[in-house]
Every structure is written in C-alpha cells, then in structure tokens.
C-alpha cells in the first residue's frame, strides 16, 4: 500500500494501535462511574461530585444493543468515500461499564448479519486519508468475524 502514518482521527478517544484497539475513557475514583468520552473535571453522578477521575481503557467487547444503516451520504464534517458506500452502525453495551457506545460497523458487515444481543468487539478502521496520513476511528464487528 503506502508508507502513510496512521493517527487517531480525534485525539484522546482511542489508542490508534491496530494490533490492540482500545477506547479511552475515565472512571471516578470515588464512585466507580465510567465516562466516555472521558470526563476529568467533575464526576457527573449528582450525589458524588468527586473531582478525582482516572483515565481508563474501556472493555473491547460488548453486546449489540441495536443497529441501523446509513444508506445516504452523511453531510460534512463526515468525509465520505466517493462513490459513497452505505454502512451499518451499531450501539454496543459494554458489560463492565454499563455504557453503550455507538460506532460504524466494519465494511462488509451489513444489517442482515446483525441481531440485537449478539457479541461485538472493537476494531479500528480508516475514516479518511490524505497524502501523508490515514485517520483512524473505532469500528464494531461481530466477535470472530
């Protein structure tokens, strides 16, 4: 392919390491609540209000809460491939965190291959690229796919 470097499309949300993709969140040291995107100023559990929050990597597997598809090209700031290829979108609930995260489903897996309740795992994919870099985002795929 190329010698392009890969980089997270947005800083601070994921570890851009294709061999070990992870989402970066935070966790309240006082009450144990997780946050994604990370919250570092103030725990948002109204009865807690602790300011002690630590960075954590979130679980990389979860359960499919629901799913849908994007059959039309989303507007900017999304950078769509030309010609546009429809894709699926999943909402996956992480067990330990009790938190649901949205994300594109890997190319080639459409809504027909999905079912609420199935096991999903995190991976990384190219969101868009320019001459020097490939910008990565997280994607969901059925476990074992």
């Amino acid at each position: 392919m190329s010698e392009k470097t890969t980089v997270a499309a947005v800083e601070g949300l994921l570890v851009a390491d294709p061999s070990a993709p992870r989402l970066l969140g935070s966790r309240c040291k006082a009450c144990g609540t997780y946050y994604f995107p990370a919250e570092h100023t103030l725990c948002r559990t109204p009865t807690c209000s602790s300011t002690e929050l630590e960075s954590v990597e979130l679980s990389t597997e979860g359960v499919l809460w629901s799913y849908t598809s994007a059959n039309y090209k989303p507007p900017a700031p999304f950078v769509a491939k030309e010609p546009f290829e429809p894709f699926a979108i999943a909402a996956v609930t992480l067990e330990r965190e009790q938190l649901t995260v949205l994300g594109q489903v890997v190319p080639g897996v459409g809504v027909d291959a999905l079912k609420t309740g199935m096991a999903m795992e995190l991976t990384l994919g190219t969101l868009h690229e320019d001459d020097e870099q490939r910008y990565l985002t997280w994607q969901w795929k059925p476990v074992g796919h």
Binding site: V10, P37, T68, N71, A76, F87, L102
Partner: protein
Amino acid sequence: MSQEVAVLGVGMHPWGKWGESFVKYGVRAAQDALRDAGLAWNDVDFVAGADTVRNGYPGYVAGATFAQALGWSGAEVVSCYGACASGAQAISVARSRILSGEAKVALVVGADAAPKGFFAPQGGRRPDDPDWLRFYLHGITNPTYFGLWARRRMDLYGATSSDFAKVKVKNARHGLHNPNARYRKEVTEDEVLGSKVVADPLHLLEICATSDGGAALVLTSLDFARKHTTKPVTIPAVSTVTPAFPNTVIEMPNLATDSGASSGPPETPFKASIAKRAYDRAGVGPEDVDVAEVYDLSTALELDWYEDIGLCAPGEAERLIRDGDTTIGGRVPVNPSGGLACFGEAVPAQAIAQVCELTWQLRGQAEGRQIEGAKLGVTANQGLFGHGSSVIVKR
C-alpha cells in the same frame, strides 16, 4: 393559587416550503392568535420567543425579532433555545410569568425557515462537541438514532415494518383536512414500504421532513380569560425536564450513554419521565388522556411515545396501532393534526403547534379531524442535548 393558565388564543402559519423569512411566519401566527383571543398586539405585555438558532446565527433572536416586526411596544421579552423543546420552554416561561402575576397577556411565538436535507452542525473542528464528533467520526445523522430505536423495537418486541408503516398511513389520513399541514395526501402501507430505506429499518416516508412554519399562543390568567370566554382551554402543567443520571439509553447527539455501573439505570427512563412530570403536576394520569400530540420524527418513534406517555406498557404499542386505538375514533387518538408526518419539522414552532392542535380539539374546532368530547390532552417532545417537553391541555 391556581397553577392553571388559560390559552385564550392560538394561531399558525401553514407549514410548507415557502422560502421566506421565519419572521413572516411568526408574525402571521401571532396575529392569528391575537385575533383568536380577541386581543390587540398592544394588549400583550410579555413575549416569549422560541429561537431558531439552528441556522447558526444569534441574530435570529425570536422574541425581540417578533416584537419588533409587530411594532415595538415596550413589552418585556424572553427568548428560549432548547432544541426541539424550545417551544415548550417558551410556553413554560410565559406560563410562570402569568402565574407570578408579572404579566397579564403573554404571547408565545415560534417559527422557522428550515434548511434542506440532513441537519448538520456548523463548520469548524470541535472535538469537544458531541454533535460534531458523531458526524465526523462515524457519519451518524439524526435518522441513525431513529433507526437504532426502531430496530430495537423489532428485536425486542417483535415490531414489524408494517407496524411502523401503519403509523404513517394513520397520520397521513389524520392530516388530510388540516389546513395548516404541509402534506395532505393519503399514503398506503405499500407506498411507505416501497420508498427507499434511509436508516434501516426506516424508509424515506417514515422520517419527517424539514419545513417552514410558525405557531403562536396567547396565554392569560384564568380570571382574565373568563372575562373573554365562558370555558377557556387551560394549561395546568408544563414539563421541561432533563434526564436523571445515569441516562443509559443512547440519545441524540451523543456517541455514548452514561454509565450505570455504579448506580444502575434510573427508575424512570428519561423519555418516560418527561410526561410523568407534567401528569404529576397537573394531578392527572395517562388514563385521563383523550388525545395526544407526540413528536413523530419517525414512525417507530411514535410507538415509543405511546409507552412513554403511558398509553400502554412497554412492548404494547404495536397492538395499539394495529387495533386502531390511536386513530381518530379509537380509544385515544394520537397526532390528530397529522403530526410531523404531515407537517415536517419546524423546530421552534413544533411544541407550540402541538398545543394549538390540542386547543382546537378541546374547543371542538378541529374540523375534519375532530375527536368528539375530548377534555384533556397531552403533548410530548424531546430535543437533543437532554431537553424534555410535555404540556397538559384541558378544558
């Protein structure tokens, strides 16, 4: 002190794609509401505007803009923004001003001139903004959320595409004779299911369009209203609630939910808490409801609302649409106006328009779509960023 205010006048500018300034729509709606109330613009001492800031420009300050267009009268003004709940915020503000005795005649106005296509965020790179992140990182539009919620109904409750399509068929029929509706044409289930899929399982005809339109209310105290009419329609409660932590259901425009790891999910999920607060305040319950106007951004979402406003238990909404319970003539008609399916979305006007429709219904003036003997109605609506809105209207 009574916690009711009277809806003495209602007015609308018809919904459509007129291509003019939102100011014109709002002024027309306001004038109609004043005429309906039998009052003049100079009688108004408070104006609550619902802002159309989606255009991304603070110049569109609703309250003062409408006050200026109607003719500066020295009236006090407040302008509200709370996404789709903006109109309900404006109603709530005007209502408090009447209840506190600070205002005698309050005018509530919302109007919009909508852009085409998908709603999209302003330009610029804003990685701290969830509304920017969802578009940039995953191409997640508003219909994405509608699709997620719809699919979950199918996998959890056995809803079918035919159930969803029935909502569109019903609302299209309801709106057929509504002079303020934009789309006045019957559609069949086959036509709905034959239109292109936008966000699986939802088709183009199941997702509401964006429209130009305006709506206005004249609110007064009960005492004031009784001098003008024998039995005024009243608003005994408005709810503009936010979620309770943790909000564990995915919601526009977020990429993730709150975490229930430490406290578990809330007793009442956010969407169910919206009308609940209004019922509790008004001292009524879902069993008292004769008619409802809910925010049918998608067909499937209308079914969610049946449960969230308490018309049935979770998982039973499909039975209601199949049995015709929510059709005019049924047990508890929903969206007799035709809903967003016939109107399309004109964000700051929508929550106000819902109250207009309920007022016409409760007065017996909803020609061609009248629900006989309706005495109590409820509206429900949800805006992105955690804005709930529900209004109880009764006679």
